[in-house]
């Protein structure tokens, strides 16, 4: 039982590597394994190898890396929030960070600001996530209870959803509605290293913040009073997790749009395998989130013909039934 946790992580790393190889192989242009190796080793040999190299390095690799980064952020944020709030329904979407980031982007699209600079949309999305975070931190400082935080997050999320709907409602043209809806559905298509450069520092800071709160989350499983008696500063822990989630998820949403269910499903799926230790769940959820999002991206690329299927749609299609089965299984097991 004790050895299951490292084995799980090794297994997830191997799965991630396998999925990464599959992801690099899939695309509208068919490139054989030998051509792939040739393109990566001797890219200047012929014009064909040069083109294969460009497709692999400039088109498929950024997409693969971004899928891993976003999946890891969503997975670890979900695990940290579920540990902090001791609520299995907690996920980045629940505390309003994703929806506020989405609202920031929608405001940018509504007022046509994205045409002024390509960086304005991600900046506005991150500003939305930051605002939500500041508000939640303020609430956390004054009303430290987990329930208050959850309810405030739900209220914030609903408000952001209502304002997003208002923007859609008042959109000047059907093309503007389409623009906002497509962005909200999430996608990794045609992302480049510029997008990774933009979100990576924030994601990395967020991941470090979240990874460093494992021991405190373990203590919190005993209850808030017991954790405080063990030296856990609860308001500080709340701030650390909220800021970590806002940085990593906000930056990802800014680049890819909103992608749901990964943060909810992955910790649930892996919790049993880490013997219900919140600290162990963090790394496993990051790896599992990366693998799940990569799998969803591979699935949508295999399913999409001329019209692209959006990533948020696929994660919800995979995640929702899977989550329902998981919940029912646990219910039957307890019965």
């Amino acid at each position: 039982m004790y050895r299951r946790y490292p084995l799980l992580n090794y297994g997830l790393v191997i799965l991630l590597l396998l999925l990464a190889m599959v992801s690099l192989r899939i695309g509208p242009v068919s490139i054989s394994v030998s051509d792939m190796i040739n393109a990566l080793v001797n890219s200047q040999e012929t014009s064909q190898t040069l083109r294969h190299n460009l497709i692999l390095i400039e088109l498929r690799l950024p997409r693969l890396l971004l899928a891993m980064l976003v999946g890891a952020s969503l997975g670890i944020s979900g695990a940290a929030l579920q540990g902090l709030l001791r609520n299995p329904l907690a996920e980045p979407g629940l505390i309003g960070v994703s929806s506020c980031a989405g609202l920031g982007a929608v405001i940018c699209l509504y007022f046509g600001l994205s045409t002024l600079s390509m960086w304005l949309l991600p900046t506005m999305a991150m500003a939305g996530a930051t605002l939500a975070t500041l508000l939640l931190c303020w609430i956390g400082r004054h009303h430290a209870g987990s329930l208050t935080l959850i309810l405030s997050g739900i209220a914030l999320s609903s408000l952001a959803a209502a304002l997003t709907s208002l923007a859609l409602n008042l959109a000047p043209s059907p093309a503007d509605v389409q623009d906002m809806v497509l962005w909200l559905l999430g996608s990794l298509n045609y992302r480049s290293f510029n997008d990774i450069q933009l979100c990576f520092p924030f994601v990395l800071t967020g991941l470090v913040l979240l990874m460093s709160c494992g021991a405190k989350l373990d203590a919190l499983t005993l209850g808030e009073a017991e954790a405080q008696s063990l030296g856990v500063n609860l308001p500080k822990l709340q701030r650390q997790i909220i800021v970590g989630t806002a940085l990593s998820v906000g930056a990802c949403v800014a680049v890819t749009g909103t992608i749901g269910f990964v943060g909810l499903v992955v910790p649930h799926l892996l919790r049993r395998w880490v013997d219900y230790h919140p600290s162990r769940l963090l790394l496993s959820s990051a790896l599992g989130g990366a693998a799940l999002l990569l799998l969803a991206d591979i699935a949508l690329r295999l399913l999409s013909s001329t019209q692209e299927i959006m990533l948020g749609v696929v994660t919800a299609l995979i995640g929702a039934p899977f989550f329902l089965i998981l919940v029912l299984q646990q219910k039957w097991r307890l019965a």
Partner: protein
């Protein structure tokens, strides 16, 4: 004597003006609710016939006739506007056919006409004449069709002067949208003497191409869309990708004007001529090699 001649001339003028006014009165009144129909109306109908044009016709970013269109009231294609204007003919898009107020229009004797799409130059000539007949301007339509045929012939003669193999041209929208055979873009590409690269890549009609395919099989020339609706953030992601930017720096690129109208009607001859001018400015030959 002179005063007598002047009186006779004035009388003739008055009589002919009265006859013309009578003819104009007999022409059907028109409300256009669609940008493509607006352009046809402005080019074929007399001003007295036009009761209203679509609101898009007033937007210089979308309509090359925005200045002349502003002489007419704009509409947003609502039933109330149509009923109040009570035209003989409403020109509408295909989507408008299922309008719930269709029965009310029938009661008021308002005909809803959908302007057909043209998939070849021949269809453009037929549809232009059909539209001219519809608005009671048959003779004007015949003159216009002959004029467009002459201009098209001039373009084709220009491209047939060189016997070299045709170069390929790829029409590309910022979302990867392109057009194969059977589209008005294909007609323009053919008139310019190029080979449509989208057809070579297997596209029939309207569709999308992946950046991977474009990188793998680049054309000799790019033709980019300047349409205002293509500038939306989500739809223009392909065009912002550094790899496409790199390709556009490497290959000669032509640009369609934003106010082209993007309608498969006789006015695409303007677009073809505009592109010929653009190629001349850039020092590029027509579709055959330089």
């Amino acid at each position: 004597m002179l005063r007598g001649n002047l009186r006779i001339s004035l009388l003739c003028c008055l009589l002919s003006a009265a006859a013309a006014a009578g003819q104009t009165d007999m022409l059907p009144s028109i409300v256009s609710t669609h940008l493509c129909a607006d352009q046809l109306v402005l080019s074929l109908a007399v001003p007295e016939q036009i009761l209203s044009l679509s609101y898009k016709s007033h937007d210089p970013k979308r309509s090359r006739y925005a200045a002349s269109a502003k002489a007419y009231p704009a509409n947003r294609a609502t039933s109330e506007e149509i009923i109040q204007l009570k035209p003989n003919i409403v020109l509408a898009s295909r989507r408008w056919q299922n309008h719930p107020q269709q029965q009310q229009f029938d009661l008021l004797d308002i005909r809803v006409i959908v302007v057909p799409l043209s998939n070849s130059w021949q269809e453009i000539f037929v549809n232009t004449q059909w539209f001219a007949d519809l608005v009671g301007r048959s003779e004007h339509g015949r003159t216009l069709v002959l004029e467009v045929q002459r201009r098209l012939q001039a373009l084709r003669e220009l491209e047939s002067m060189s016997g070299k193999p045709k170069k390929s041209l790829l029409y590309l929208r910022p979302n990867g949208g392109s057009s194969g055979a059977g589209t008005y873009i294909d007609m323009i590409i053919e008139a310019l003497g190029f080979r449509n690269h989208a057809s070579t890549l297997g596209l029939k009609g309207w569709g999308q191409l992946s950046l991977e395919n474009i990188v793998m099989h680049p054309p000799d020339y790019f033709l980019l869309s300047g349409h205002v609706r293509d500038n939306s953030h989500s739809n223009s992601r392909l065009s912002r990708h550094p790899l496409l930017q790199q390709l556009l720096d490497e290959y000669p690129t032509l640009l369609l004007p934003a106010d082209t109208g993007y309608c498969a009607d006789w006015q695409i001859i303007h677009v073809a001529e505009y592109l010929v001018e653009q190629m001349a400015v850039m020092g590029l030959a027509n579709g055959q090699g330089q």
